[in-house]
């Protein structure tokens, strides 16, 4: 179907079902129950799942296929956001031109950066992209927001004001990003028993774009172009010796992934019409690297898994505070309860980044293939035991302790 093998079609259908039914699937606990805090089925978080999923899919096309580790992809996300907000300011709140322009601008920007950075490879490439991203951040944060020429509005962040031109804006249209009149914030809530499900217009727009993006990434993975990119990853020198010029291919991959990042940035702005420079900081670039590695670089589904995983736990872990912990461990004797709370405390709430860092190190050390590889190992482990073939058992990576 659609030029895909049956396996990829099945994968696409699974992702489509998951994405379209997410408002239901992510709300497994009744509203009133104590577990409701683990629900993720509210529009804001679901939108972030999907948008960062797109970002990570794009990053994976560069890193997973060619092996070029870019540490500056957040720059394209930020540029996309700025472009989208400028469209809101100049034309109207319609998201279509905004998203289109954000993709185009991010694409042009990545041609410029890619043309220069891709002259080098390996560690130099990482440092060059890092330098470019930090430069873009400095430009957006302070340089391009002086009174004479205010492109980014500096620290405050770029946003739409009432005196902006908005030449296509008419009275009947909502004063928020909309898709030909359908506001991105309009939500249809279904109450069923104790549950309540939010079906949000903005989320579905993002989900459909995610599916298109995912489909395109499958096609790129399977195309001759994708095979060429894999060849670059495995041995670029040999490829050059055969007389092929690899640079156009790497540049194309870089620009494609930059456009994915721009698309994600445009969608972020479409969900919340605000663009700030902190989106371009290098920690944001590090985050997308984390997502891709955590999920599994070079696999189709990995980046989406990684993005969902990080965004979900970021949200849940940072909500847990000492009161919640005491509630959980209340069945224990007081001393043990306080002890456990004291142990867990540094890792939750504001300490979420610590957990993330440790998790990330564990994944890089023991599971270079990410969650996907972990799943495969567990699958193989279970499968072998069922067949009673014995011998050569895969070590269960998750049981290992950190090396430090």
């Amino acid at each position: 179907m659609l030029g895909l093998s049956s396996k990829d079609t099945a994968l696409l259908i699974i992702v489509a079902l998951l994405a379209l039914l997410a408002p239901v699937l992510l709300n497994p606990f009744p509203e009133a129950s104590a577990m409701a805090q683990f629900n993720a089925g509210y529009p804001d978080l679901m939108q972030r799942f999907v948008i960062y999923g797109i970002f990570a899919i794009g990053f994976n096309i560069l890193f997973g296929l060619t092996g070029y580790l870019s540490f500056g992809h957040a720059a394209f996300l930020g540029v996309g956001s700025y472009a989208a907000v400028w469209m809101f300011k100049l034309l109207s709140y319609n998201v279509v031109p905004a998203i289109l322009l954000s993709v185009v601008v991010a694409g042009l920007f990545s041609v410029l950066i890619g043309y220069i950075s891709l002259r080098r490879s390996g560690i130099y490439f990482s440092i060059l992209t890092l330098a470019f991203a930090q430069m873009s951040f400095a430009l957006a944060y302070s340089v391009l927001s002086n009174p004479k020429f205010n492109l980014t509005n500096g620290e405050t962040g770029l946003q739409v004001y009432t005196d902006d031109p908005q030449i296509f804006h008419r009275a009947g249209l909502p004063d928020l990003p909309h898709f030909f009149g359908l506001s991105m914030r309009s939500t249809y809530t279904v109450d069923m028993g104790g549950w309540s499900f939010d079906f949000n217009a903005g989320y579905y727009l993002c989900a459909i774009i995610l599916l298109v993006a995912f489909y395109m990434s499958i096609r790129i993975f399977n195309s001759p172009f994708g095979i060429m990119l894999r060849a670059i990853k495995s041995n670029q020198q040999r490829l050059n010796y055969t007389g092929l010029n690899s640079r156009p291919y790497t540049l194309a991959a870089f620009v494609i992934s930059g456009m994915y990042a721009g698309l994600a940035g445009g969608l972020l702005a479409a969900m919340d019409p605000l663009a700030g420079a902190e989106r371009m900081q290098w920690t944001a670039s590090g985050e997308v690297v984390l997502m891709t590695i955590l999920g599994g670089a070079g696999t189709l589904i990995g980046p989406i898994l990684g993005a969902g995983f990080i965004k979900y736990f970021e949200n849940i872990f940072s909500k847990i505070n000492d009161n919640v912990l005491h509630q959980w461990f209340s069945f224990m004797p007081d001393g043990a309860e306080d002890f456990l709370v004291a142990i867990v405390h540094p890792f939750v709430g504001k300490g979420w980044h610590l957990t993330l860092g440790i998790l990330f190190m564990l994944v890089v050390i023991f599971l270079p293939g990410g969650l996907v590889e972990g799943g495969q190992r567990i699958g193989r482990f279970v499968f072998r035991r069922n067949n009673r073939k014995g011998g050569g058992l895969e070590p269960d990576a998750k049981a290992k302790q950190p090396a430090e």
Partner: protein
């Protein structure tokens, strides 16, 4: 002319920090071939060694002084640091006052130990893996280290002043023949510059004039041959990692009076130090030092009012611009050797 000299002086202290961090990075890269993204975290840990020692020395106990009363009329509670109690007020207060220089002595063993644990416990397992994996795992380690520091010391910068005797500024202009009050330079920054020169000289001397250093240099040139001669080069490289960590840590200790340390200072310096290493030439120790000072001074010139009025914000991006130009025109850096990481 006086403004010119002042800008050079202003660039020196930042340049010293860049040079020291870049020196450590290059040492690690040259010996172990590992790109260490956690090096900024080592700089930060060094700075927090100073904070830690200051806190330890200022530990105090409360006594009630019946002879004086506070503004509510109650007997005054007096905090007496233990050191003052033990060594008497004069020596005790002097020890607290000089906690930052004392922290140097404290930081050296701590940093060597941290470096040793890092190398043996983690980085050792990554020699055979691709550079991307090394970057990623050290990046993760940097996040973990900085979050641990944040957990213990909070997110705000912690003021760690220099000893009072060194807190003032010196009118250099009068010494070299300018009018008074034209070139004023704080004592501590002068000390920082001198200190960094001593450290840099020490590292170079160690590598140049000791047998140990000679073996290490031989190992940097050709690790396998040295190994075949029956020398345990891995052990020496581990020690070099410890030394590199100590250099970064000392840079951090001495930087605390210039800039109050916070948990992300390491990351802020790391990005720039990488740029410095690349500009200087990957694997070249003199290149790292030279580029560190050059970029520090360049940044200081770009921050002058005439530079920022001509090109607003040039001070924010000048280092990156220079790095990009250098990488494109002279890819191996200012003093890079041929064949080192040139792909």
């Amino acid at each position: 002319m006086d403004a010119f000299i002042l800008q050079i002086l202003n660039g020196l202290d930042k340049g010293s920090a860049y040079a020291l961090i870049a020196l450590g990075l290059t040492l690690i890269f040259g010996t172990l071939g590992v790109v260490n993204f956690a090096h900024g975290a080592l700089f930060m840990i060094g700075a927090f060694c100073a904070v830690f020692l200051q806190r330890i020395l200022s530990l105090s106990f409360l006594t009630v002084d019946e002879t004086r009363t506070d503004f509510l009329g109650n007997p005054m509670k007096v905090e007496t640091p233990y050191v003052v109690d033990w060594f008497g007020p004069e020596l005790g207060n002097a020890i607290i006052d000089w906690s930052v220089p004392l922290a140097i002595l404290f930081a050296i063993p701590v940093m060597v130990f941290v470096g040793f644990v890092m190398e043996r416990g983690l980085i050792k397992h990554f020699y055979k893996r691709p550079h991307a994996d090394q970057i990623l795992v050290t990046f993760g380690l940097a996040i973990v280290l900085q979050e641990i520091i944040k957990y213990f010391y909070g997110a705000n910068p912690i003021p760690t002043p220099a000893p009072r005797a060194l807190a003032g500024a010196f009118d250099i202009g009068t010494v070299i023949g300018f009018d008074a009050n034209t070139i004023i330079y704080p004592y501590w920054r002068m000390i920082y510059f001198a200190f960094s020169l001593i450290i840099i000289g020490g590292v170079f001397g160690f590598l140049r004039y000791t047998t140990f250093g000679m073996v290490v240099r031989a190992g940097m040139a050709d690790r396998e041959t040295v190994g075949m001669l029956g020398i345990d080069i891995d052990r020496r490289f581990t020690l070099m990692f410890g030394i590199a960590a100590a250099v970064a840590g000392l840079a951090g200790v001495m930087y605390t009076p210039i800039n109050p340390p916070n948990y992300h200072m390491g990351m802020d310096f790391l990005v720039l130090s990488f740029v410095v290493v690349v500009v200087g030439g990957m694997g070249s120790l003199p290149g790292a030092v030279l580029a560190g000072f050059l970029l520090g001074i360049l940044e200081s010139f770009a921050s002058t009012s005439w530079a920022t009025s001509a090109l607003p914000g040039i001070n924010q991006i000048i280092i990156y611009l220079v790095a990009i130009i250098v990488l494109l025109t002279r890819p191996r850096g200012l003093m890079g050797r041929k064949g080192v990481m040139e792909e």
